[in-house]
Symmetry: D2
Subunit: 139 residues, 4 copies
Amino acid sequence: MFVHRREVTIEWGDCDPAGIVFYPRYFAMFDASTAALFAAALGYNKFEMLSRFGIVGFPMVDTGAKFLHPSKFGDVITIESQVSALRRSSFDVAHRVFRGETLAIEAHETRVWAGRDPDDQARMKGVAIPDEVREVFRV
Amino acid sequence: MFVHRREVTIEWGDCDPAGIVFYPRYFAMFDASTAALFAAALGYNKFEMLSRFGIVGFPMVDTGAKFLHPSKFGDVITIESQVSALRRSSFDVAHRVFRGETLAIEAHETRVWAGRDPDDQARMKGVAIPDEVREVFRV
Amino acid sequence: MFVHRREVTIEWGDCDPAGIVFYPRYFAMFDASTAALFAAALGYNKFEMLSRFGIVGFPMVDTGAKFLHPSKFGDVITIESQVSALRRSSFDVAHRVFRGETLAIEAHETRVWAGRDPDDQARMKGVAIPDEVREVFRV
Amino acid sequence: MFVHRREVTIEWGDCDPAGIVFYPRYFAMFDASTAALFAAALGYNKFEMLSRFGIVGFPMVDTGAKFLHPSKFGDVITIESQVSALRRSSFDVAHRVFRGETLAIEAHETRVWAGRDPDDQARMKGVAIPDEVREVFRV
Protein backbone atom coordinates (compact mmCIF):
# COMPACT_ATOMS: atom_id res chain seq x y z
CA MET A 1 0.00 0.00 0.00
CA PHE A 2 1.28 3.46 -0.93
CA VAL A 3 2.01 5.46 2.24
CA HIS A 4 3.03 9.12 2.23
CA ARG A 5 4.76 10.84 5.14
CA ARG A 6 5.53 14.52 5.54
CA GLU A 7 6.75 16.67 8.40
CA VAL A 8 4.85 19.79 9.38
CA THR A 9 6.12 22.47 11.74
CA ILE A 10 3.38 23.82 13.98
CA GLU A 11 3.34 27.60 13.66
CA TRP A 12 2.35 30.29 16.16
CA GLY A 13 -0.60 31.15 13.90
CA ASP A 14 -1.85 27.55 13.99
CA CYS A 15 -2.37 27.84 17.76
CA ASP A 16 -5.11 29.25 19.93
CA PRO A 17 -5.05 31.14 23.26
CA ALA A 18 -4.54 27.82 25.10
CA GLY A 19 -1.22 27.60 23.21
CA ILE A 20 -2.15 24.42 21.30
CA VAL A 21 -3.17 23.85 17.70
CA PHE A 22 -6.62 25.21 16.86
CA TYR A 23 -8.07 21.92 15.59
CA PRO A 24 -9.54 23.21 12.28
CA ARG A 25 -5.93 23.85 11.24
CA TYR A 26 -5.29 20.10 11.41
CA PHE A 27 -8.00 19.55 8.81
CA ALA A 28 -6.25 22.05 6.52
CA MET A 29 -3.02 20.07 7.07
CA PHE A 30 -4.85 16.81 6.25
CA ASP A 31 -6.24 18.34 3.05
CA ALA A 32 -2.71 19.28 2.01
CA SER A 33 -1.51 15.78 2.98
CA THR A 34 -4.12 14.14 0.75
CA ALA A 35 -2.98 16.37 -2.13
CA ALA A 36 0.65 15.47 -1.37
CA LEU A 37 -0.24 11.75 -1.23
CA PHE A 38 -1.75 11.90 -4.71
CA ALA A 39 1.12 14.02 -6.05
CA ALA A 40 3.67 11.54 -4.69
CA ALA A 41 1.79 8.55 -6.11
CA LEU A 42 1.03 10.05 -9.52
CA GLY A 43 4.16 12.12 -10.07
CA TYR A 44 2.42 15.46 -10.68
CA ASN A 45 0.62 17.96 -8.47
CA LYS A 46 -3.09 18.56 -7.84
CA PHE A 47 -3.26 21.45 -10.32
CA GLU A 48 -2.04 19.21 -13.13
CA MET A 49 -4.17 16.31 -11.88
CA LEU A 50 -7.41 18.32 -12.10
CA SER A 51 -6.54 19.49 -15.59
CA ARG A 52 -5.43 16.04 -16.80
CA PHE A 53 -8.55 14.26 -15.52
CA GLY A 54 -10.98 17.11 -16.18
CA ILE A 55 -12.26 17.18 -12.60
CA VAL A 56 -13.11 20.04 -10.27
CA GLY A 57 -11.62 18.49 -7.15
CA PHE A 58 -12.30 15.75 -4.63
CA PRO A 59 -14.61 17.43 -2.12
CA MET A 60 -15.03 16.01 1.36
CA VAL A 61 -18.22 14.14 2.19
CA ASP A 62 -17.35 12.65 5.57
CA THR A 63 -14.44 13.25 7.91
CA GLY A 64 -13.55 12.74 11.53
CA ALA A 65 -10.59 12.89 13.88
CA LYS A 66 -9.59 11.75 17.34
CA PHE A 67 -7.16 14.10 19.05
CA LEU A 68 -5.07 12.06 21.47
CA HIS A 69 -2.25 14.49 22.28
CA PRO A 70 -2.10 18.25 21.72
CA SER A 71 0.80 19.94 19.92
CA LYS A 72 2.07 23.47 20.35
CA PHE A 73 3.95 25.96 18.16
CA GLY A 74 7.51 24.87 17.45
CA ASP A 75 6.57 21.17 17.54
CA VAL A 76 7.28 19.15 14.42
CA ILE A 77 4.70 16.50 13.61
CA THR A 78 4.73 13.74 11.02
CA ILE A 79 1.54 13.14 9.04
CA GLU A 80 1.28 9.65 7.56
CA SER A 81 -1.42 9.26 4.90
CA GLN A 82 -2.76 6.47 2.73
CA VAL A 83 -5.74 5.66 0.54
CA SER A 84 -7.62 3.03 2.54
CA ALA A 85 -10.48 2.35 0.10
CA LEU A 86 -11.32 3.12 -3.53
CA ARG A 87 -14.83 2.83 -4.91
CA ARG A 88 -16.20 3.77 -8.33
CA SER A 89 -16.31 7.52 -7.72
CA SER A 90 -15.30 7.94 -4.09
CA PHE A 91 -12.36 7.00 -1.89
CA ASP A 92 -11.20 6.98 1.72
CA VAL A 93 -7.98 8.35 3.17
CA ALA A 94 -6.55 7.57 6.61
CA HIS A 95 -4.18 10.00 8.33
CA ARG A 96 -2.12 9.35 11.42
CA VAL A 97 -0.18 12.12 13.13
CA PHE A 98 2.89 11.34 15.20
CA ARG A 99 4.91 13.59 17.48
CA GLY A 100 8.08 11.63 17.89
CA GLU A 101 6.95 8.07 18.65
CA THR A 102 3.61 9.19 20.08
CA LEU A 103 0.43 8.76 18.05
CA ALA A 104 -1.18 12.19 18.42
CA ILE A 105 -4.18 12.11 16.03
CA GLU A 106 -6.11 9.55 13.99
CA ALA A 107 -8.27 10.87 11.17
CA HIS A 108 -10.27 9.48 8.28
CA GLU A 109 -11.94 11.04 5.29
CA THR A 110 -14.25 10.07 2.44
CA ARG A 111 -14.07 12.15 -0.72
CA VAL A 112 -15.82 12.17 -4.07
CA TRP A 113 -13.99 12.32 -7.41
CA ALA A 114 -16.01 15.19 -8.79
CA GLY A 115 -16.56 16.73 -12.20
CA ARG A 116 -18.94 19.44 -13.34
CA ASP A 117 -22.52 18.21 -13.67
CA PRO A 118 -23.15 18.29 -17.46
CA ASP A 119 -26.78 19.24 -16.79
CA ASP A 120 -25.86 22.15 -14.49
CA GLN A 121 -22.37 23.68 -14.71
CA ALA A 122 -22.79 25.23 -11.27
CA ARG A 123 -23.03 21.77 -9.67
CA MET A 124 -20.54 18.98 -9.12
CA LYS A 125 -21.15 15.31 -9.70
CA GLY A 126 -19.21 12.15 -8.88
CA VAL A 127 -17.40 10.62 -11.85
CA ALA A 128 -15.50 7.36 -12.21
CA ILE A 129 -12.00 7.38 -10.74
CA PRO A 130 -9.58 6.82 -13.67
CA ASP A 131 -7.62 3.57 -14.01
CA GLU A 132 -4.32 5.44 -13.70
CA VAL A 133 -5.33 6.44 -10.17
CA ARG A 134 -6.60 2.94 -9.36
CA GLU A 135 -3.26 1.50 -10.43
CA VAL A 136 -1.11 3.57 -8.12
CA PHE A 137 -3.35 3.04 -5.10
CA ARG A 138 -4.10 -0.63 -5.74
CA VAL A 139 -5.12 -1.77 -2.26
CA MET B 1 -32.96 21.18 25.68
CA PHE B 2 -31.13 24.43 25.05
CA VAL B 3 -30.69 24.97 21.30
CA HIS B 4 -28.72 27.83 19.81
CA ARG B 5 -29.09 29.03 16.22
CA ARG B 6 -27.00 31.57 14.36
CA GLU B 7 -26.72 32.65 10.76
CA VAL B 8 -23.36 32.72 9.04
CA THR B 9 -22.65 34.33 5.67
CA ILE B 10 -20.21 32.30 3.59
CA GLU B 11 -17.39 34.56 2.52
CA TRP B 12 -15.19 34.49 -0.60
CA GLY B 13 -12.23 33.68 1.66
CA ASP B 14 -14.04 30.64 3.10
CA CYS B 15 -14.13 29.06 -0.36
CA ASP B 16 -11.64 27.08 -2.42
CA PRO B 17 -10.87 26.99 -6.16
CA ALA B 18 -13.93 24.77 -6.70
CA GLY B 19 -15.97 27.74 -5.46
CA ILE B 20 -17.36 25.93 -2.39
CA VAL B 21 -16.48 26.18 1.29
CA PHE B 22 -13.06 24.75 2.14
CA TYR B 23 -14.28 22.27 4.76
CA PRO B 24 -11.80 23.16 7.55
CA ARG B 25 -13.56 26.54 7.65
CA TYR B 26 -16.74 24.76 8.78
CA PHE B 27 -14.90 23.43 11.81
CA ALA B 28 -13.85 26.99 12.69
CA MET B 29 -17.54 27.99 12.37
CA PHE B 30 -18.56 25.09 14.63
CA ASP B 31 -15.98 26.11 17.23
CA ALA B 32 -17.47 29.62 17.23
CA SER B 33 -20.98 28.11 17.43
CA THR B 34 -20.05 26.08 20.51
CA ALA B 35 -18.70 29.25 22.14
CA ALA B 36 -21.91 31.09 21.16
CA LEU B 37 -24.04 28.25 22.54
CA PHE B 38 -22.33 28.51 25.94
CA ALA B 39 -22.48 32.31 25.89
CA ALA B 40 -26.21 32.23 25.13
CA ALA B 41 -26.89 29.66 27.84
CA LEU B 42 -24.72 31.23 30.54
CA GLY B 43 -25.20 34.90 29.74
CA TYR B 44 -21.51 35.80 29.38
CA ASN B 45 -18.86 35.13 26.75
CA LYS B 46 -16.06 32.54 26.57
CA PHE B 47 -13.43 35.00 27.82
CA GLU B 48 -15.40 35.62 31.00
CA MET B 49 -16.30 31.93 31.27
CA LEU B 50 -12.65 30.83 31.29
CA SER B 51 -11.78 33.42 33.90
CA ARG B 52 -14.82 32.66 36.09
CA PHE B 53 -14.26 28.89 36.10
CA GLY B 54 -10.45 29.01 36.07
CA ILE B 55 -10.17 26.81 33.00
CA VAL B 56 -7.91 27.00 29.96
CA GLY B 57 -10.56 26.03 27.42
CA PHE B 58 -12.55 23.03 26.23
CA PRO B 59 -10.21 21.40 23.71
CA MET B 60 -11.55 18.99 21.11
CA VAL B 61 -10.93 15.28 21.59
CA ASP B 62 -13.16 13.81 18.88
CA THR B 63 -15.06 15.42 16.04
CA GLY B 64 -16.64 14.45 12.76
CA ALA B 65 -18.90 15.83 10.07
CA LYS B 66 -20.97 14.63 7.13
CA PHE B 67 -21.17 17.13 4.29
CA LEU B 68 -24.45 16.57 2.46
CA HIS B 69 -24.68 19.74 0.36
CA PRO B 70 -21.96 22.23 -0.53
CA SER B 71 -22.33 25.98 0.02
CA LYS B 72 -20.69 28.80 -1.89
CA PHE B 73 -19.76 32.42 -1.13
CA GLY B 74 -22.79 34.62 -0.65
CA ASP B 75 -24.87 31.77 0.77
CA VAL B 76 -26.30 32.26 4.25
CA ILE B 77 -26.37 29.15 6.40
CA THR B 78 -27.96 28.53 9.77
CA ILE B 79 -25.94 26.59 12.35
CA GLU B 80 -28.06 24.91 15.02
CA SER B 81 -26.10 23.69 18.05
CA GLN B 82 -26.87 21.90 21.28
CA VAL B 83 -25.11 20.07 24.09
CA SER B 84 -26.12 16.46 23.54
CA ALA B 85 -24.31 14.86 26.51
CA LEU B 86 -22.58 16.02 29.69
CA ARG B 87 -20.19 13.81 31.63
CA ARG B 88 -18.04 14.59 34.67
CA SER B 89 -15.34 16.46 32.76
CA SER B 90 -16.32 16.14 29.10
CA PHE B 91 -19.32 16.91 26.94
CA ASP B 92 -20.73 16.43 23.45
CA VAL B 93 -22.11 19.04 21.08
CA ALA B 94 -24.22 18.35 17.98
CA HIS B 95 -24.32 20.86 15.11
CA ARG B 96 -26.69 20.85 12.17
CA VAL B 97 -26.24 23.24 9.27
CA PHE B 98 -29.21 24.27 7.13
CA ARG B 99 -29.30 26.19 3.88
CA GLY B 100 -32.90 27.21 3.69
CA GLU B 101 -34.85 24.04 4.50
CA THR B 102 -32.06 21.75 3.34
CA LEU B 103 -29.92 19.92 5.90
CA ALA B 104 -26.42 20.60 4.56
CA ILE B 105 -24.09 19.25 7.29
CA GLU B 106 -24.32 17.13 10.42
CA ALA B 107 -21.43 17.35 12.88
CA HIS B 108 -20.63 16.15 16.38
CA GLU B 109 -17.89 16.94 18.83
CA THR B 110 -16.58 15.73 22.16
CA ARG B 111 -14.64 18.23 24.26
CA VAL B 112 -12.89 18.18 27.62
CA TRP B 113 -13.44 20.83 30.30
CA ALA B 114 -9.76 21.54 30.87
CA GLY B 115 -7.70 23.29 33.51
CA ARG B 116 -3.96 23.55 33.94
CA ASP B 117 -2.42 20.35 35.30
CA PRO B 118 -1.29 21.33 38.84
CA ASP B 119 1.71 18.98 38.50
CA ASP B 120 2.81 20.51 35.18
CA GLN B 121 1.64 24.00 34.25
CA ALA B 122 2.45 23.32 30.60
CA ARG B 123 -0.17 20.57 30.44
CA MET B 124 -3.94 20.56 30.52
CA LYS B 125 -6.11 18.20 32.52
CA GLY B 126 -9.83 17.48 32.58
CA VAL B 127 -11.65 18.98 35.58
CA ALA B 128 -15.23 18.61 36.78
CA ILE B 129 -17.79 20.64 34.84
CA PRO B 130 -19.32 23.15 37.31
CA ASP B 131 -22.93 22.82 38.48
CA GLU B 132 -23.82 26.19 36.95
CA VAL B 133 -23.01 24.75 33.54
CA ARG B 134 -24.85 21.49 34.27
CA GLU B 135 -27.95 23.45 35.23
CA VAL B 136 -28.24 25.39 31.98
CA PHE B 137 -27.66 22.36 29.79
CA ARG B 138 -29.72 19.90 31.85
CA VAL B 139 -30.48 17.24 29.25
CA MET C 1 -19.66 58.95 0.35
CA PHE C 2 -21.08 55.49 0.87
CA VAL C 3 -19.86 54.09 4.21
CA HIS C 4 -20.53 50.55 5.39
CA ARG C 5 -20.30 49.44 9.01
CA ARG C 6 -20.53 45.93 10.41
CA GLU C 7 -19.90 44.37 13.78
CA VAL C 8 -17.61 41.37 14.08
CA THR C 9 -17.25 39.20 17.17
CA ILE C 10 -13.66 38.12 17.75
CA GLU C 11 -13.61 34.34 18.10
CA TRP C 12 -11.28 32.06 20.07
CA GLY C 13 -10.01 30.68 16.76
CA ASP C 14 -9.09 34.18 15.53
CA CYS C 15 -6.61 34.51 18.39
CA ASP C 16 -3.05 33.35 18.94
CA PRO C 17 -1.17 32.07 22.00
CA ALA C 18 -0.78 35.67 23.23
CA GLY C 19 -4.59 35.74 23.45
CA ILE C 20 -5.01 38.48 20.83
CA VAL C 21 -6.17 38.39 17.22
CA PHE C 22 -3.65 36.72 14.87
CA TYR C 23 -3.31 39.68 12.49
CA PRO C 24 -3.82 37.75 9.19
CA ARG C 25 -7.37 37.12 10.43
CA TYR C 26 -8.00 40.89 10.28
CA PHE C 27 -7.18 40.85 6.56
CA ALA C 28 -9.77 38.08 6.07
CA MET C 29 -12.27 40.29 7.94
CA PHE C 30 -11.36 43.25 5.71
CA ASP C 31 -11.85 41.14 2.59
CA ALA C 32 -15.33 40.22 3.83
CA SER C 33 -15.99 43.88 4.67
CA THR C 34 -15.10 44.98 1.14
CA ALA C 35 -17.52 42.35 -0.22
CA ALA C 36 -20.19 43.57 2.23
CA LEU C 37 -19.55 47.19 1.23
CA PHE C 38 -20.18 46.36 -2.45
CA ALA C 39 -23.20 44.21 -1.61
CA ALA C 40 -24.72 46.99 0.49
CA ALA C 41 -24.07 49.60 -2.22
CA LEU C 42 -25.23 47.49 -5.18
CA GLY C 43 -28.03 45.52 -3.56
CA TYR C 44 -26.73 42.05 -4.43
CA ASN C 45 -23.89 39.88 -3.19
CA LYS C 46 -20.42 39.20 -4.59
CA PHE C 47 -21.47 35.93 -6.23
CA GLU C 48 -24.14 37.72 -8.25
CA MET C 49 -21.82 40.67 -8.87
CA LEU C 50 -19.14 38.49 -10.49
CA SER C 51 -21.71 36.78 -12.66
CA ARG C 52 -23.46 40.02 -13.65
CA PHE C 53 -20.24 41.83 -14.60
CA GLY C 54 -18.42 38.81 -16.00
CA ILE C 55 -15.41 39.29 -13.74
CA VAL C 56 -13.27 36.81 -11.79
CA GLY C 57 -12.90 38.96 -8.69
CA PHE C 58 -11.11 42.06 -7.46
CA PRO C 59 -7.72 40.71 -6.37
CA MET C 60 -5.54 42.69 -3.99
CA VAL C 61 -2.53 44.51 -5.38
CA ASP C 62 -1.48 46.60 -2.37
CA THR C 63 -2.60 46.56 1.24
CA GLY C 64 -1.41 47.72 4.60
CA ALA C 65 -2.61 48.14 8.16
CA LYS C 66 -1.60 49.90 11.36
CA PHE C 67 -2.58 48.01 14.49
CA LEU C 68 -3.11 50.54 17.28
CA HIS C 69 -4.91 48.43 19.89
CA PRO C 70 -5.15 44.65 20.16
CA SER C 71 -8.46 42.81 20.54
CA LYS C 72 -9.12 39.48 22.20
CA PHE C 73 -11.76 36.75 21.85
CA GLY C 74 -15.17 37.90 23.01
CA ASP C 75 -14.53 41.50 21.95
CA VAL C 76 -16.93 43.00 19.43
CA ILE C 77 -15.34 45.33 16.91
CA THR C 78 -16.92 47.60 14.32
CA ILE C 79 -15.36 47.68 10.85
CA GLU C 80 -16.13 50.85 8.91
CA SER C 81 -15.34 50.64 5.18
CA GLN C 82 -15.54 52.94 2.19
CA VAL C 83 -14.30 53.19 -1.37
CA SER C 84 -11.77 56.03 -1.21
CA ALA C 85 -10.74 56.13 -4.89
CA LEU C 86 -11.98 54.72 -8.19
CA ARG C 87 -9.80 54.57 -11.27
CA ARG C 88 -10.46 53.00 -14.68
CA SER C 89 -9.85 49.41 -13.59
CA SER C 90 -8.71 49.66 -9.98
CA PHE C 91 -10.02 51.13 -6.74
CA ASP C 92 -9.02 51.82 -3.14
CA VAL C 93 -10.86 50.89 0.03
CA ALA C 94 -10.21 52.33 3.49
CA HIS C 95 -11.13 50.36 6.61
CA ARG C 96 -11.20 51.64 10.17
CA VAL C 97 -11.75 49.30 13.10
CA PHE C 98 -13.23 50.58 16.33
CA ARG C 99 -13.56 48.88 19.69
CA GLY C 100 -16.12 51.04 21.43
CA GLU C 101 -14.91 54.60 20.80
CA THR C 102 -11.29 53.57 20.35
CA LEU C 103 -9.76 53.48 16.88
CA ALA C 104 -8.03 50.08 16.90
CA ILE C 105 -6.83 49.61 13.29
CA GLU C 106 -6.46 51.67 10.13
CA ALA C 107 -6.11 49.76 6.86
CA HIS C 108 -6.08 50.54 3.17
CA GLU C 109 -6.24 48.40 0.08
CA THR C 110 -5.91 48.75 -3.69
CA ARG C 111 -7.68 46.17 -5.83
CA VAL C 112 -8.03 45.49 -9.53
CA TRP C 113 -11.37 44.86 -11.24
CA ALA C 114 -10.30 41.68 -13.00
CA GLY C 115 -11.62 39.55 -15.83
CA ARG C 116 -10.09 36.58 -17.58
CA ASP C 117 -7.35 37.52 -20.00
CA PRO C 118 -8.87 36.76 -23.46
CA ASP C 119 -5.40 35.75 -24.71
CA ASP C 120 -4.80 33.34 -21.84
CA GLN C 121 -7.75 31.99 -19.84
CA ALA C 122 -5.47 31.04 -16.97
CA ARG C 123 -4.56 34.70 -16.40
CA MET C 124 -6.49 37.67 -15.06
CA LYS C 125 -6.48 41.15 -16.53
CA GLY C 126 -7.82 44.50 -15.33
CA VAL C 127 -11.02 45.59 -17.05
CA ALA C 128 -12.98 48.84 -16.86
CA ILE C 129 -15.11 49.26 -13.75
CA PRO C 130 -18.76 49.43 -14.91
CA ASP C 131 -20.76 52.66 -14.68
CA GLU C 132 -23.25 51.05 -12.31
CA VAL C 133 -20.43 50.61 -9.80
CA ARG C 134 -19.10 54.14 -10.41
CA GLU C 135 -22.54 55.57 -9.74
CA VAL C 136 -22.99 54.01 -6.31
CA PHE C 137 -19.51 54.93 -5.12
CA ARG C 138 -19.39 58.38 -6.70
CA VAL C 139 -16.70 60.04 -4.59
CA MET D 1 22.97 40.89 7.05
CA PHE D 2 21.29 37.65 8.10
CA VAL D 3 18.90 36.51 5.35
CA HIS D 4 16.57 33.52 5.70
CA ARG D 5 14.99 31.72 2.75
CA ARG D 6 12.37 29.01 2.79
CA GLU D 7 10.22 27.33 0.18
CA VAL D 8 6.47 27.14 0.61
CA THR D 9 4.12 25.02 -1.48
CA ILE D 10 0.86 26.78 -2.21
CA GLU D 11 -1.99 24.51 -1.16
CA TRP D 12 -5.52 24.15 -2.53
CA GLY D 13 -6.82 25.49 0.80
CA ASP D 14 -4.67 28.64 0.48
CA CYS D 15 -6.57 29.59 -2.67
CA ASP D 16 -9.87 31.32 -3.34
CA PRO D 17 -12.56 30.82 -6.01
CA ALA D 18 -10.40 32.74 -8.52
CA GLY D 19 -7.86 29.92 -8.09
CA ILE D 20 -5.13 32.16 -6.63
CA VAL D 21 -3.84 32.60 -3.10
CA PHE D 22 -6.32 34.31 -0.77
CA TYR D 23 -3.99 37.15 0.28
CA PRO D 24 -4.51 36.87 4.08
CA ARG D 25 -2.81 33.48 3.78
CA TYR D 26 0.38 35.25 2.65
CA PHE D 27 0.42 37.18 5.91
CA ALA D 28 0.22 33.88 7.82
CA MET D 29 3.17 32.66 5.73
CA PHE D 30 5.10 35.86 6.52
CA ASP D 31 4.39 35.42 10.23
CA ALA D 32 5.85 31.90 10.03
CA SER D 33 8.81 33.23 8.03
CA THR D 34 9.61 35.81 10.70
CA ALA D 35 9.53 33.03 13.32
CA ALA D 36 11.78 30.89 11.09
CA LEU D 37 14.17 33.82 10.56
CA PHE D 38 14.59 34.23 14.33
CA ALA D 39 14.90 30.47 14.87
CA ALA D 40 17.58 30.23 12.18
CA ALA D 41 19.52 33.20 13.59
CA LEU D 42 19.25 32.22 17.27
CA GLY D 43 19.41 28.44 16.98
CA TYR D 44 16.17 27.69 18.85
CA ASN D 45 12.48 28.04 18.02
CA LYS D 46 9.91 30.70 18.96
CA PHE D 47 8.51 28.63 21.84
CA GLU D 48 11.93 28.46 23.48
CA MET D 49 12.65 32.09 22.56
CA LEU D 50 9.54 33.38 24.38
CA SER D 51 10.38 31.32 27.45
CA ARG D 52 14.08 32.27 27.44
CA PHE D 53 13.42 36.02 27.11
CA GLY D 54 10.23 36.10 29.20
CA ILE D 55 8.19 37.75 26.46
CA VAL D 56 4.66 37.15 25.22
CA GLY D 57 5.44 37.52 21.54
CA PHE D 58 6.30 40.17 18.96
CA PRO D 59 2.88 41.46 17.89
CA MET D 60 2.48 43.32 14.62
CA VAL D 61 2.02 47.07 14.71
CA ASP D 62 2.34 47.95 11.03
CA THR D 63 2.45 45.78 7.93
CA GLY D 64 1.94 46.09 4.22
CA ALA D 65 2.43 44.15 1.02
CA LYS D 66 2.51 44.73 -2.73
CA PHE D 67 1.25 41.78 -4.73
CA LEU D 68 2.97 41.84 -8.12
CA HIS D 69 2.20 38.35 -9.44
CA PRO D 70 -0.46 35.88 -8.26
CA SER D 71 0.35 32.26 -7.37
CA LYS D 72 -1.92 29.24 -7.55
CA PHE D 73 -2.09 25.86 -5.80
CA GLY D 74 0.82 23.63 -6.69
CA ASP D 75 3.19 26.57 -7.16
CA VAL D 76 6.29 26.62 -4.99
CA ILE D 77 7.36 30.04 -3.80
CA THR D 78 10.51 31.16 -2.00
CA ILE D 79 10.11 33.62 0.88
CA GLU D 80 13.26 35.61 1.62
CA SER D 81 13.21 37.43 4.96
CA GLN D 82 15.53 39.71 6.90
CA VAL D 83 15.50 42.08 9.85
CA SER D 84 15.84 45.49 8.22
CA ALA D 85 15.86 47.65 11.37
CA LEU D 86 16.21 47.15 15.12
CA ARG D 87 15.18 49.78 17.64
CA ARG D 88 15.05 49.64 21.45
CA SER D 89 11.85 47.60 21.66
CA SER D 90 10.66 47.25 18.06
CA PHE D 91 12.05 45.97 14.79
CA ASP D 92 11.29 45.77 11.08
CA VAL D 93 11.29 42.73 8.83
CA ALA D 94 11.32 42.77 5.03
CA HIS D 95 9.97 39.81 3.05
CA ARG D 96 10.34 39.19 -0.66
CA VAL D 97 8.51 36.36 -2.39
CA PHE D 98 9.89 34.84 -5.56
CA ARG D 99 8.31 32.37 -7.96
CA GLY D 100 11.26 31.14 -9.92
CA GLU D 101 13.18 34.30 -10.84
CA THR D 102 10.09 36.51 -10.68
CA LEU D 103 9.59 38.85 -7.73
CA ALA D 104 5.96 38.13 -6.78
CA ILE D 105 5.43 40.06 -3.51
CA GLU D 106 7.22 42.67 -1.43
CA ALA D 107 6.16 43.03 2.20
CA HIS D 108 7.34 44.85 5.29
CA GLU D 109 6.41 44.64 8.92
CA THR D 110 7.07 46.46 12.18
CA ARG D 111 6.74 44.46 15.38
CA VAL D 112 7.10 45.16 19.09
CA TRP D 113 9.15 43.00 21.42
CA ALA D 114 6.42 42.58 24.03
CA GLY D 115 6.23 41.42 27.62
CA ARG D 116 3.35 41.45 30.06
CA ASP D 117 2.64 44.88 31.48
CA PRO D 118 3.69 44.60 35.18
CA ASP D 119 0.86 47.00 36.12
CA ASP D 120 -1.80 45.00 34.26
CA GLN D 121 -1.16 41.34 33.43
CA ALA D 122 -3.87 41.42 30.76
CA ARG D 123 -1.89 43.97 28.75
CA MET D 124 1.33 43.79 26.77
CA LYS D 125 4.11 46.34 26.81
CA GLY D 126 7.21 46.87 24.70
CA VAL D 127 10.43 45.81 26.42
CA ALA D 128 14.06 46.20 25.39
CA ILE D 129 15.26 43.74 22.75
CA PRO D 130 18.01 41.62 24.37
CA ASP D 131 21.66 41.95 23.31
CA GLU D 132 21.74 38.32 22.15
CA VAL D 133 19.12 39.21 19.53
CA ARG D 134 20.90 42.45 18.58
CA GLU D 135 24.11 40.52 18.02
CA VAL D 136 22.69 38.03 15.52
CA PHE D 137 20.85 40.67 13.52
CA ARG D 138 23.57 43.32 13.68
CA VAL D 139 22.60 45.47 10.71
